[in-house]
Amino acid sequence: MTQAELPLATSEILPAPRRRTRRRRPGLVENTPWMNLATHAILISGLLLLLGPIYLVFAAATQTVQEVNQIPPNLSISSHFWENISEAWFSRDFQSKFINSAIVASGVVIGKIVIACITAFGIVFFDHRLRMPIFWLVFITLMLPLEVRIVPTYAVAANALSPFQAILDWTGVSWLINAVSGVELALEWNMLNTYTGLIMPLIATATGTFLYRQFFLTIPDELVEAAKMDGAGPLRFLRDVLVPLSATNMAALATIMFVSGWNQFLWPLLIITDPAHEVVAVELRSLIPNANTTGGGIPKWNVAMAASLLVMLPPIVVVVAMQRWFVRGLISTEK
């Protein structure tokens, strides 16, 4: 460097952008060989416990009807996998059922995320008297899963307007209308055998609201105020700041909710009678051999297992694809 190149004064030396180096977390217990052995033994037995049944399903799906019905059971892998898969796929109208399931699961995911995000937004960022009561009301619904409230939910799905009808009847408004205009007031909105009916009762989510609330609480007040100073109203702030910042949370929530939406069984079983709206989880049941379906023939467990594998596939794909986001969303240290 010559004198001419030398700056008059060296200003702030800018450090290179910091890379986050992940340090190994010190273990809670000491790393002795015995400990290692024990922990690995526990891990491996857990893994086997999880993989064992899946292996049985897979093995059965590769066998012929004769092989799968052998006694004692034959646990080896055979060579008829693709035949079974194609029989499972074509013997029933699986394609349209898959589409139905995809619609329902996606609808549930989108609905849950939107509802959870907006509810948490209202609870965290607006200072009003009802915020804690509302939060607790939402929280209490954790104790009321669909299975518990299935009868009233069915009644509402059969006619979503029946609560309003009840109110109108009870307050005498219906009578008044009838007396004045001679019209018999009968509100009706039937959601049985519809996608709406499949999706709507599932989208209220305390878990999701709670997850979002916890995330929103980590947003510094200054950031909210900076946005106010910049002129952004609440909805603008939600759209431009909160939604992008909560992308990883959203991914985590979406993953969990997709799997649970896909696996819904009881609710579709109850409200869907029209095959056009049937979902795969329910359809699968029709492949499982029992006295009615086999009609005395040899039970086709191999085909049922192949179909199970097919039904399992989409959630696995979603989980694997979202896995990275998923973990980040749940530990959420990046700010």
Binding site: E12, A226, D230
Partner: protein, 373 residues
Amino acid sequence: MADISIRDVRKVYGKDEVIHGVNLAIHNGEFIVILGPSGCGKSTLLRMIAGLEDISGGEIAIAGTVVNDLEPRERGCAMVFQNYALYPHMTVGGNIGYALKVAGVKRAERDAKVRAVARSVGLEEFIDRKPGQLSGGQRQRVAMARAIIREPKVFLFDEPLSNLDAKLRVQMRHEIRRIHNRIGATSVFVTHDQHEGMTLADRMVIMNKGTIDQVGTPEEVYNRPATTYVAGFIGSPAMNFLSGEVRAGESAVALADGSRIALTPAAARAFDGRLVQIGLRPEALALCAPGEGALRARFDFYEEMGSDGLHHLMVEDVPLSVLSAHKQRMPEGQEVGVTVPPEVVHLFDVESGQRLEAGPGAVATIKRMEHAE
């Protein structure tokens, strides 16, 4: 560009009043520093100007318009926060331009403006980075740029430098002053650091538990502190306090240990017989041989300050410090004298803590309540 007038403003949280009727007139283009210890209500006052807190009582007007009921964005203020408050997911350019985007400014125009402002604060090459990839000083600059781009009438700063290391803090301080000189918008800067306040301010506002003790230029505040609180807060090392009684006959203050501190005759006459607190700045005192000088003291310990030495003494059981370039290390307990020139003595009323000042047109108290002028 605008003046700000604060009239009898109060802030109440639940039952606690934290700002007790504050009056302040800030002139157009002025750099005002609000100084006070943590918890005295500086931020609350600033945030009421910004519109981030409701005003519980009184009125704030910016450029002649009462803003009590206006939204923050309608007040024409921009704010720089202590923790930068940058949007972590937006690039530097996105952060700087966000206010324009919200205001609906077209993309091309916005980009040009963002580029120009980024260049003016030396951030041009970082425009596509995320805040997480910047150093503290750079983030602070982004926060500044984000305020500048809106061309606000008023800049508000809430301790914007307290997260920076000492060297960077000085540098950013200069930069803030330079930007103020260039743009000329009214600036209100909150800090608890008297150095920052003294160096930046056109006028300082010294706050004490939700009230204003004094408003004045840094020199005024340093040379003629209005209360013992201001006197003790401003100046480093802190002012020494002794108490005594004014004796006009001796033209001095008599202390409990029998020594006399000479006053100007005017001051002695004006406050004859009053019980007073005497404020003595360490840098106005000098050591001398024992028996000479106004005060007799015992050496306690010595602190090296670089260009000066700080000599800690005890007058009976009251600590007294003397700052002097003439450094003298002495054994603990050694007797020394302290000379006190009469013109450096600050007098305060013992009970009220208000400054006592004699002179032509003397106002005994110069606690300033500058109502809207």
